[in-house]
């Protein structure tokens, strides 16, 4: 798909304390990956050779992760991966950037300089594994101006649905209405905030919206243009979850303990997910290790008990320690005889010997980066 470029707007969703130190797109997911790895890998696999990641704030972690784009084979001389810091001149970011349209406006030169006919634009922070070639095919077949990807979340509670951009989809796939996070959902079609359109259309939308002083791409541009544009839906029937809160972050990680989710998301040879290789040694299990139903990245040293948990790289679980129903980001150290239940530890957290941290399944305890307990 040499005729298509990608634009990913790094998420500014606020999930304290984890997004105090990084963009939500750079949050670790499923042990070894970051949220942005999924869409970036999908774009690379679909053959996109020009992908811009536009950032708003807090992007050092994201840049450190993406670097030259080599893990996705996006380290190219001219095309490949471009990290696009916010274009705010000498102003304060908060004055300039009030919505994703402002970020897109800041990268208009990058969009204009591109030669691709189509753009896949991602504004969201969802986790999924999708074949973008099929999305593009559907976009062309429908002669759509804009294609919006969605998942039908039939059977899901109303308050869960309210987290999403909801779409009214007609029988022929045309979108007749869009509502962003309505309190009373009228449909179960949840958009993942990924749009396909011609690059020229995106440019004209940006031009028009900036002239009108608009800030929000979905509310001000797409929803307002329902009448004038052919907007179609593309239904993705695989795994989708939005990472927009601490509990959502926790649940999303825990979902990866299921074999179906693992197989679909991380073991599909046609849609591989790549990430930065950190050259970690294998994980080592001591004489007293007990591990059940857990997902464990490389570089860990486990001498205690780990049950129903997801561990990122370089985590140490010492003798007598028990980690249950928890998500541990990289380089956590759990001291001897400490107990963790329903806890989410950010990077570099140390729990000293003999401590207990117990959360609830409805509210896991989040611990900020670098904390020593």
């Amino acid at each position: 798909m040499r005729d298509t470029m990608g634009i990913i707007i790094a998420s500014n969703i606020n999930i304290p304390p984890f997004t105090d130190v990084r963009s939500a797109s750079a949050l670790p997911m499923a042990g070894g990956f970051r949220i942005i790895d999924f869409i970036l890998s999908n774009m690379a696999t679909a053959g996109l050779r020009r992908i811009g990641v536009a950032t708003e704030a807090n992007y050092s972690s994201l840049m450190d992760h993406l670097r030259s784009g080599a893990p996705w084979d996006l380290h190219m001389k001219d095309d490949g991966l471009h990290i696009l810091p916010p274009n705010i001149g000498n102003k304060n970011a908060a004055e300039i950037i009030r919505g994703d349209l402002d970020i897109l406006n800041g990268i208009r030169q990058y969009i204009r300089k591109s030669r691709e006919t189509y753009v896949i634009l991602s504004l969201g922070n969802c986790v999924y594994n999708i074949d973008f070639e099929k999305v593009l095919e559907s976009h062309k077949e429908n002669h759509a101006d804009v294609t919006v990807i969605y998942k039908n979340l039939a059977g899901v509670e109303e308050k869960e649905l309210s987290r999403y951009t909801l779409l009214d989809v007609a029988e022929d796939g045309a979108i007749t209405d869009i509502e962003v996070c309505p309190y009373y959902p009228k449909t179960t079609n949840a958009g993942i905030d990924v749009f396909v359109m011609e690059r020229a259309l995106l440019e004209s939308i940006l031009d028009e919206c900036s002239a009108r002083g608009n800030h929000d791409f979905i509310k001000d541009a797409i929803a307002q243009k329902m009448g004038g544009l052919r907007i179609f839906g593309y239904e993705h029937d695989g795994y989708v979850d939005k990472v927009d809160s601490m509990i959502a972050y926790y649940n999303n990680n825990m979902n990866f303990l299921g074999k179906e989710v693992q197989d679909e998301m991380l073991k599909n040879p046609k849609l591989p997910i790549y990430t930065k290789n950190r050259d970690l040694p294998p994980t080592k299990y001591g004489s007293d290790a007990t591990v059940e139903n857990s997902y464990i990245a490389d570089g860990c040293k486990i001498e205690g008990t780990v049950i129903n948990s997801v561990l990122s790289g370089n985590v140490v679980v010492k003798k007598g320690a028990v980690v249950k129903n928890s998500v541990l980001m990289q380089s956590a150290v759990i001291g001897e005889n400490s107990t963790l239940e329903y806890v989410v530890l950010d990077k570099d957290v140390t729990v000293t010997d003999g401590k207990q941290i117990i959360g609830q399944d409805s509210y896991p305890v989040p611990v900020p980066k670098g904390t020593v307990i």
Binding site: K276, T283, E292
Partner: protein, 402 residues
Amino acid sequence: MNAKDCVAMILAGGQGSRLGALTKNVAKPAVPFGGKYKIIDFPLSNCVHSGIDTVGVLTQYQPLELNTYIGNGGPWDLDRNRGGVYVLPPYQSAAAGEWYKGTANAIYQNLGFLDRFSPNNVLILSGDHIYKMHYGEMLATHKKSGAAITIAVMPVPWEEASRFGIMNVDENGMIVEFEEKPKNPKSNLASMGIYIFDYQILKKYLMDDERDPASSNDFGKNIIPAMLNNGEKMVSYRFEGYWKDVGTVQSLWEANMDLIEDPPKFDIYDDTWSIYSRNTALAPQYVGDNAKIIDSSVAQGCRVHGKISRSVVFSGVFVGDGSEVSDSVIMPDVKIGKNVKITKAVIGQGAVIEDGAVIGETTDDSSPYISSMCTDGLVLIEGGATVSGGADIPKCSMVEAN
């Protein structure tokens, strides 16, 4: 080309015939090791950590795996504009075309490569040893002493000294005598096959050696004795630490086991001296409800439902329900079915062990699989082989792929 102070040449052409089926299709330096690595990762990573950014890898036997593995050198940060890693196979020239006749001849045939960098010193390494060593410190010693050659040596147990090339040194560390596998060793300082030469002196000796039709063109047999005869300044560099020549199935198995002792005899967890390797980041390892893993190392992408003890399990391995793996080395992408029992075995890459198979449990000297390569009860299953359901593979067996 920019001049380099020191260029490393890694001898990676050997077959490693004592590794049996493990080196049927790959050269010894390409044999998997330690859960995520290949043997050649160790000298390559040592070079990078030692500040050596120009490395020639001399290949000959079954080079495909090694060539594709090394590629552009990116995983070791050896994809340099000035320097980097170069795979150097034997080649044809207008005058002749021949295989590498010996270790010295392999370097001789690549003097043209070395000349491009006009190095002051050349570091000669083997591609089949497991160790961590700061070559930069050895190079500093070499330069300070002004030696023609500096040879790394390490003390070995006296009773094993007669298996090594032994260096007899004086009180200043000068090498006064070299004995290849002496019956009555006078010293227990073994040569590690790691040499730093002054390049101009190396070049002269290689050219002289090439003119001698009786020579076997080997560093240990010819070059070093010739230098000793001529009274060149030869200095020993003493190395203390873990070093293992993984030349046999048994020693390869032992070196893997050394990683999982507590504390490990050889530490690959030191992040100031990471061992780099070419591998794609895979999904984390999933450990199932009824799994039990103790005293073992397990790498990414595995799915474990059975029991694993005292074993090194590489990436992408599946261990089914009710299976028990102990004292074993399970190489990448091996599939182990249900209720399999594996004891003290090395299972090659991609092998399939079907449900109910038993490996390394029973003794049966009449079994057609018994091999002299496999000593001390150890079993070797070749990569890609299938051990069919319910089969009983006795101790000391070697099972080859069809």
